[in-house]
Symmetry: C2
Subunit: 415 residues, 2 copies
């Protein structure tokens, strides 16, 4: 983040911060600019707000938003590519990276070097102005269909398979797939929505949003000592998730080792899982607990007293969710989950359109999600859920420094 801070040292003007024209109102403008610098850069924050208000580092060997402690809110967008011009697309990736670098640091889009005229649209749409960085992370992924464009076919990783058809799924193609994805996570939804909107705007004419999903409540934690969140079935979710601090498990299960351009990246599976909330709510407590294999209040595995006690799988019913999904039932398959609850209003029958937007990161989709999901074909939970959207993405390694950009390892190779 250093270059961002350096470029804005001294007293910032509203123009340089926002790329907005200074149409008179000098006093007001300077006052507003000062506030922006203090709040949106993460300086001068009151300690109480530090945890949720802080900025997450954008540069690193891995992209942030994977092992990062899970933020409270999500805006996930899948894009389709419209341009055939590889150079134009690469330039967009560079522009996206520059904007992402600024937004994750709590700054507005635009460095003041262009656009800051009253006669031009503002560089930044403005609705996150005055809000804290809110631990925003932006994570990019490349879908299988992208590798049919721009001469990338030879670069497609073997691990980036199309997902097979799974029992019981009913996928809406309008909520599935995509050439690209951006996962925006933040503790303030307005910050996440702002980020997706501004990236879509920068991509205008080059890419278009194919589908997007808001998530309002995290359902898994990557911080093992934090309170385990509950999903919309009312159960704790993600008790034995991989923690962001478990370097060895991350290396073993999450970070990709190949091909070269993917080293340090990961593979993401996104599934929109609708829950039949009203049916579930009329199910007895005993049946709910039998289905999960954990009790509802504490979250303890069957026969155990506490949430974090090691599950004894054979004490559970053969079709219990926890038993079927457990690594011991899947040749050790382990994935890092960072899903979110969603509620998208109501369907035509007055039922809540609600469920889990499941996001899982893994070293190889074949040994991860695919193996586990196949094993869940007999899951007792399937009576109450249905997978209605699906996508898979290769998530490249992190942006190393201020000169690097999203996808450089893939596109530099071939350029």
């Amino acid at each position: 983040m250093t270059e961002v801070e350096e470029s804005e040292s001294g007293t910032p003007s509203r123009r340089s911060l926002l790329g907005w024209g200074g149409a008179g109102l000098a006093l007001g403008a300077v006052a507003a600019g000062g506030t922006v610098a203090a709040v949106r850069s993460g300086d001068d924050m009151d300690p109480a707000a530090a945890e949720t208000g802080a900025a997450v580092a954008f540069h690193g060997a891995h992209q942030s938003g994977i092992a990062t402690p899970v933020q409270d809110r999500l805006h996930f967008a899948a894009f389709d590519v419209q341009t055939d011009d590889r150079a134009e697309f690469v330039q967009m990736l560079k522009d996206w990276t520059a904007a992402a670098r600024r937004m994750t640091a709590g700054k507005a889009v635009g460095d003041g070097a262009y656009g800051g005229l009253a006669e031009a649209p503002p560089d930044d749409t403005g609705e996150a102005l005055g809000l804290k960085p809110s631990r925003l992370t932006l994570t990019i992924g490349f879908g299988p269909s992208l590798f049919k464009k721009f001469g990338l076919a030879d670069q497609r990783p073997e691990a980036l398979v199309e997902l097979p058809q799974f029992a019981g799924e009913n996928l809406d193609r309008n909520r599935s797939d995509g050439d690209l994805c951006i996962q925006a996570c933040a503790d303030d939804p307005q910050v996440a929505v702002h980020a997706i909107r501004n990236l879509a705007r920068i991509g205008f004419g080059k890419v278009v949003i194919r589908w997007s999903q808001l998530g309002f409540g995290k359902t898994s934690s990557t911080t093992p000592d934090a309170q385990t969140p509950r999903n919309l079935m009312g159960f704790k979710d993600g008790t034995r998730n991989i923690a962001g601090t478990e370097t060895a498990r991350l290396k073993k299960y999450v970070w990709a080792e190949g091909p070269d351009w993917m080293s340090g990246g990961s593979y993401l599976v996104a599934r929109r899982i609708r829950m039949h909330i009203e049916t579930w709510d009329r199910t007895s407590l005993q049946e709910q607990e039998d289905i999960f294999g954990r009790d509802k209040g504490e979250g303890a595995p069957v026969g155990k007293a506490k949430e974090r006690d090691k599950p004894f799988l054979k004490a559970m019913l053969p079709d219990a969710h926890v038993r079927l999904a457990h690594p011991d039932s899947n040749q050790g398959s382990t994935i890092l989950r960072r899903g979110y609850s969603f509620t998208d209003g109501t369907d035509g029958l007055g039922r809540l359109e609600a469920g889990l937007f499941f996001l899982a990161y893994q070293k190889d989709v074949r040994d991860g999600f695919i193996r586990i999901q196949r094993h869940l074909a007999t899951d007792a939970l399937n009576e109450y859920i249905q997978h209605v959207g699906s996508a898979v993405f290769a998530v490249p390694p992190g942006v190393r420094d201020k000169d690097d950009w999203w996808g450089s390892t893939l596109f530099s190779k071939e350029a």
Copy 2:
């Protein structure tokens, strides 16, 4: 709240707190119950979390959720009545009130006197367990169509008019109207969603959700010294809103005086306003500021330096939004706004399905929203927005005490 706390004095069991069966696991159950009592009742909260974590009083002369400082998140649901049985409907209102009293105090639904068996569905769906009260407010309203049922025709307030057709609107009837509404506001969306879900569940067979709307970011504040929130057009919104502390303005503009059963209530207009985000984002800063009549950074009225400076309306263009909506342009009409930004994914053209879910409370809809909205027919902003959903509700006075219930002033009269 006293009766709730009294009933749970001493060491609470999970059964009494949740209405869930204690299926063994005594140690875990007591530990979980203890956590629930401490966290969900608002006791023992760390001071840093007090502001957003606290409980808002449910009882009072007015319903909470109107003059209450605006919370961060919204789940709004409109219901249609299915039952013809007045006694059954009144019982549901009483059951709703009891559940609302508990949930706003941070407790789970169900007092332990019924239901807590492993063989029965849990009284509470569970996903808010362990979360703070989060300043949850639940506010009920009665739509014009309710007064065609249950022999209520004579009780319909004159002020509860059907809204006239306004220029440029394009209303989706599936996102409009409703016999009843519940506005759930909270600082945690999971708490707001949980409340609507549990009320819908209690109402099963008597009422059904007609439509619902999630809002992720407040766009108006009723706390004048707080930072003014920004709407999705990037402008500060609600600068001169009625504050929750302005008793005289609330009395003059918000609290209804009649008919008797509505005294201390208010009238609510809800409008789903879609923003043409992508078009707006390509509009010059100057045009954006001209349209609003305020500058984008500071929020100062045209020709003024600071946000809270008194607007000089004649300095604005004749079709500027602030000029047309200002009380001085509308015979003094003033409304209390508590709208929320929404983003409901993406439409079929890759555009963000986003905008403002506008909520306004007023003493009389005819002198409030209707007069102002008619005057906004020439609003320059209309090129960038469209009203696509609409509803109006009579919001009865507050629940006085633990024996009172939502709608008692209306239904007791006729029972």
